[in-house]
Symmetry: C2
Subunit: 419 residues, 2 copies
Amino acid sequence: MTEQDTRPGPSRRTLLGWGGAGLALGAAVAGGTAAALDLGGEDAGPAAAGGDAVPFHGVHQAGIATPVQDRLHFAAFDVTTTDRAKLIALLKEWTAAAAAMTAGREVGTGAVGDNDELPPDDTGEALGLKPSRLTLTFGIGPGLFEKDGKDRFGLKSRRPEALVDLPPFPGDNLDPARSGGDLCVQACADDPQVAVHAIRNLARIAMGRAAVRWSQLGFGKTSSTTPDAQTPRNMLGFKDGTRNIAGTETDRLDKHVWVGEKDGPAWMAGGSYVVTRRIRMHIETWDRTSLKEQEDVFGRTKAEGAPIGKQREHDEPNLKAMKPDAHVRLAHPDSNSGATILRRGYSFTDGTDGLGRLDAGLFFIAYQRDVRDGFIPVQTRLSRSDALNEYIQHVGSAVFAVPPGVRDKDDWWGRALFA
Amino acid sequence: MTEQDTRPGPSRRTLLGWGGAGLALGAAVAGGTAAALDLGGEDAGPAAAGGDAVPFHGVHQAGIATPVQDRLHFAAFDVTTTDRAKLIALLKEWTAAAAAMTAGREVGTGAVGDNDELPPDDTGEALGLKPSRLTLTFGIGPGLFEKDGKDRFGLKSRRPEALVDLPPFPGDNLDPARSGGDLCVQACADDPQVAVHAIRNLARIAMGRAAVRWSQLGFGKTSSTTPDAQTPRNMLGFKDGTRNIAGTETDRLDKHVWVGEKDGPAWMAGGSYVVTRRIRMHIETWDRTSLKEQEDVFGRTKAEGAPIGKQREHDEPNLKAMKPDAHVRLAHPDSNSGATILRRGYSFTDGTDGLGRLDAGLFFIAYQRDVRDGFIPVQTRLSRSDALNEYIQHVGSAVFAVPPGVRDKDDWWGRALFA
């Protein structure tokens, strides 16, 4: 394989309006990865030949049930403006930029190229790269509805009951600087440069109206939403989340992930709720633990990822064959009155801490129809009893309401909330 | 494209000795990416079908002139033992582990699987992944020869003259916690999980003898060592380093990169010297700068990457058409008495700083035959005059002697130094 083989090939990305640089591609680009979604909008057609764009418009936001990409850049924002009109303008600008970037186009209208005395609309580092299945998924944190007792934007009465502040869990060691946020954007792509470019350009557009509170890069996916795929390994070397909800399981998605028409509020119908947790793993301690202990802690074999006593990863687990505090046993819906979440987490490594230990672990991302029926009961049980707790610590936490998809080019992120 | 399409296919990685998990692959695996190298050793054969391993053994270490992979994990280590024999034992163990991992095999002999009361030899998170062109490149910092006036390992007299401590440069704002190191390992791979796994396992092997001082993840390459390939863009959206030395240019490699037989010391013949600089980019300031200013600063067009006044990226630059302080003009060998370095840097993003600004930039890596004729003259000029200095700051720095390649399975990293 030569280096060129792994470079992106001819790209649909192009420079809009930077003189003489390329052709403007005006049409939205169709992708081939969202077959399970009931998509509306202009880009819901069949896969374009060679295309690797995920449709942006649809009933649900992409980046939840669509196939999991390889890399993540997740950003939480504090809203810095107090002006409702400016906030709305930001969300409209973000939506337009997201539609362009997910289709492999640059941010902006092309007007810049006529005047090189202005900064370019787009920062440029993704020029020449493919769409790389980029998805941008937008969420709204509790603080947008009410902060320090203030109804900042006249939205207090519209806060969903399901968007609860997470309770403290035993063992939490949360860093406020890595927690919370008024807004979030989850950028997933197969090329990290494409994901980083997207967050950077959204942050740039937000200037004066919202600022990045924290962000997290994920270098390797740890979950799959594609049936039959092997589950990727986490930083402890194990497959975890084997029985994840697949993007094709519409019944399970409707039951556990998508907010229904009757769930309320109406502006959330077709949306979901996301919980993120930065979970530091005590890698060095784990690495000194025997194979048997490791397998007992998870309730799976390390090599194959099979449930204890079974042969293959996807074999039905026999929970009673596992230790009572095994992670798989405690996280299983049968141990949590059926509570089921869609996991979409990524491994991270952020260098080393002051003691030469890797600052590494899992950036956990879970989508659910109601946080009170999803993450909270599962984590309540895990935080009390999970054998894994000896090797991990939750150091960041956030929760966001994820509105339904943007229907067409006149729609925008959160429109129904502000209607 | 389905998710499965992007998952690694059937893998040559396998579990050695974890009961029942797979077949042991004993033979070294040949790769197809090092055609320009005069490789010896058992793995110098033609590319294996479907193989994407880069040969570990050879005259030169891989990871310098071999094609640049997509992702980086670079780690610098402090040696914590004072025992020369223990240091040597570590280097032998590291070499064996590196040979295994670069071939897509796990660390270890397979003995562990017979006793699950012991920790696994390998941490496991790369099981099932392909070799992903992993290269592991080993270097030795000034501190191994002498630290705080002490000749720690009887090596003081063997320090190469070319391994100089870098002088301070104007504008430097170096963080000691991100600088220096007694040893380094550069892990490059197309899959970041493979690179992270390699550094983690080397750090684990080093326990009690060496500890990670700092490490850096790079998410996107910014250079190419393959002729005619498009140069990847950096975080400022520009192509920089177009006229890099290609891995096929053996004359330029011999002149500028490889230490010659007569250069001395003998143990470095076939080796090189690497300089790393963590260069923070003031992204937000840059993004407010006009396109014209950006292009004047670099001396290239943003869209195509052509030298000012030219049409295509690889056109011969006309330095006089550029502003006197343009980056390309000042970095060009014609402005530096011919000083030429092989660049192999990566973009990084390490979240945000306390002000909501992206902590992002370039982790600069340059290889050269003699630091005094390579990085130092180039950076002396750039640090004084480069127009780019308004938008960047060097915040980490290190220099290492990179010994020649490991010749065969009886050889090990640094053997000639200790002979």
